[in-house]
């Protein structure tokens, strides 16, 4: 587990953060200028903070008190930059093997495995100048993996790409998280990427950590969820595919009960992460009838938080939490109180396919 404590002063800006990043993908989320990249650079050893204690398990990477600062090349930490940073004088193949050559770890045979996983076999003899943005980013990813790092840092690896290119790379990131099992520290300001990829979230704002913890918890916490953007506020629910109905609906089982979604192209038994936006969840105090929404889940009100003229209601559904955003008047009329049993109404279409991520089954 990566453990980070650091303080660093810039002109007119002080960074003061502390968090833990367990196995899986830890998303460092925050607006531009909140200090995310500085944190990642300090972990990589590219920046020497005023004060820092950064450890990975038993390995001390930086410890200001004991005067320890491991240089970047001895940290064994792969870094995927926003701007790929491929070496222009080397071919794709030479770029991929660059780290292998220095660390001497791993087998060269792994090259073909990684090349297959990233689908970059046809690019090997080319030079970076001849690659598209998405191809460059995949090569950069492969280059970092092939240096056999103890962990991966990614600084907005998708930010410079358009949506089709993002969609091209996201599945590889999921495979990396689930199949390779490499701990990943992932910087982003995109709620969609957080929802799809993160297992742990560290929420940053102006050089401070506002909240950190398991993704499902941080995303369903009314105190922190709005920080991800009001329109994007929503909870994560884990689900498993139970069946495909003839009329084009997929039947999923969740801790909250069965859910129906427009066809999900995944085999039966597969685990999914569903993202349920707060604005797509309605609340009814009695089981609604004669309604087009297919998914009506029994729930209990856990708490209410007033935010931006509305109310964010956290609902307990079979041990997991989802959020619902309603008006203050509705909350009053329905007399919503913590502990009150209600029904959460989700429209079947509210779980967009783009936000469905396959998680470790």
């Amino acid at each position: 587990m990566l453990s980070v404590t650091l303080r660093h002063r810039f002109a007119g800006f002080t960074l003061d953060v502390g968090f833990d990043a367990p196995e899986g993908l830890t998303a460092l989320f925050g607006h531009s200028g909140s200090g995310k990249t500085t944190v990642v650079n300090a972990v990589a050893g590219l920046l020497r903070p005023d004060f820092a204690c950064i450890t990975d398990g038993d390995t001390v990477l930086t410890d200001s008190r004991r005067g320890i600062f491991l240089p970047p090349h001895r940290r064994g930490i792969g870094y995927v930059f926003q701007d790929a940073r491929l070496f222009p004088h080397l071919t794709v193949r030479q770029n991929l093997l660059f780290g292998h050559w220095f660390t001497g770890r791993g087998q060269k045979a792994q090259l073909s495995r990684v090349v297959d996983m990233l689908g970059i076999g046809a690019l090997l003899p080319r030079r970076p100048a001849a690659l598209s943005g998405g191809e460059r980013q995949r090569v950069a990813l492969g280059r970092a993996i092939l240096s056999h790092p103890r962990m991966l840092l990614m600084d907005e690896p998708l930010a410079s790409l358009d949506q089709p290119r993002k969609d091209e790379i996201l599945p590889y990131l999921e495979r990396l998280r689930d199949e390779v099992g490499l701990p990943i520290l992932y910087v982003t300001h995109s709620p969609a990427e957080v929802a799809r990829l993160a297992t742990t979230i560290v929420l940053m704002d102006r050089g401070r950590v506002l909240a950190s913890g398991p993704a499902a918890q941080v995303m369903s916490d009314p105190a922190t969820a709005p920080r991800l953007g009001l329109a994007d506020t929503g909870a994560i629910l884990t689900a498993q595919i139970k069946g495909q109905d003839a009329d084009g609906l997929t039947w999923l089982s969740t801790p909250a009960g069965p859910l129906f979604l427009p066809q999900v192209a995944a085999p039966i038994g597969r685990s999914l992460r569903l993202r349920i936006l707060a604005q797509d969840v309605m609340i009814a105090t009695v089981p609604p009838q004669g309604i087009s929404a297919l998914n009506i889940i029994p729930a209990t009100v856990r708490d209410l938080t007033h935010a931006d003229g509305g109310v964010l209601v956290r609902l307990d559904v079979g041990g997991q939490a989802i959020l619902s955003r309603i008006t203050a008047r509705s909350a009053r009329v329905l007399d919503l109180q913590p502990g009150k049993p209600v029904h959460a109404v989700l429209k079947a279409v509210s779980v967009a396919p783009g936000t469905i991520g396959l998680s470790a089954g």
Binding site: A44, G45, L46, P71, P72, H73, R74, R75, G76, I77, G78, Y79, F81, D83, R85, F87, P88, H89, F98, G99, F102, T103, R126, R127, A129, A130, R143, A144, S147
Partner: protein, 231 residues
């Protein structure tokens, strides 16, 4: 063809090529180091080093030659010491090479420094996260990327060395077969009555060498550019 130039003139051409080649090759590692240090490192004395490197560019060449004589002459404070281990520079072709190297050094460093500044330090950072130590980052990333600048600097320095006159003649004089380079020979021919023809032919030879160096540099830099940036 061979008798187109007098034996004395041929000797001057051969000596000039030898002096310039040695001056360039021997100063190249130091030139790369100085250019890299000036472009990348911040240290006390940065401005001083920069001034020192550029001094031969702004000093009258005769002054540079005289200062060389004072330091590297047989009784100079470095020359004395070199004399004891059997190295004599004053009035030898090696001294001509030293004078040419020092006069050409600012040009070489400027060209290389520009190319170092053009290398994105973030590429070097990327290399370090992939396990390359500082010297390896330099050898595998920086050096290949500044190769065009190194070639340009070397050829510029070579051309400058070929034409060096003032510092050379002050430091090592004008001894045929020993220290008489092409410019010194042209000067000597022009001093003697009836030497205009020989001088003119030597001028043509100098132009030919200069143009050759220019074409070589163009060709090399295009070759390198294709290797580095090309598809």
């Amino acid at each position: 063809m061979a008798d187109w130039l007098t034996p004395e003139a041929w000797q001057a051409v051969r000596l000039s090529l030898k002096v310039s080649l040695w001056a360039t090759l021997a100063s190249l590692p130091l030139g790369i180091l100085a250019a890299y240090a000036l472009a990348r490192w911040r240290f006390p004395g940065h401005g001083l080093l920069n001034g020192l490197v550029h001094l031969p560019l702004v000093l009258p060449p005769v002054v540079t030659g005289y200062l060389l004589l004072l330091t590297f002459g047989r009784r100079g404070w470095i020359g004395q010491w070199l004399d004891q281990i059997g190295i004599v520079l004053a009035f030898r072709w090696t001294g001509a090479a030293l004078a040419a190297a020092i006069m050409a050094f600012p040009l070489m460093v400027r060209a290389i420094r520009l190319s170092v500044e053009a290398v994105d330090p973030r590429l070097e950072q990327a290399a370090s996260t992939l396990g390359a130590s500082r010297p390896w980052v330099f050898l595998t990333v920086t050096l290949p990327l500044i190769l065009p600048g190194i070639l340009a600097g070397a050829i510029l320095a070579f051309a400058k060395a070929m034409g060096e006159f003032g510092a050379t003649i002050t430091f090592v004089s004008n001894i045929p077969g020993q220290t008489q380079t092409v410019p010194s020979a042209i000067y000597a021919f022009l001093q003697a009555p009836g030497g205009e023809t020989a001088a003119a032919r030597l001028v043509l030879a100098a132009i030919a060498v200069a143009l050759g160096a220019l074409f070589l540099s163009e060709w090399l830099s295009r070759l390198v550019a294709r290797r580095i940036g090309g598809a």
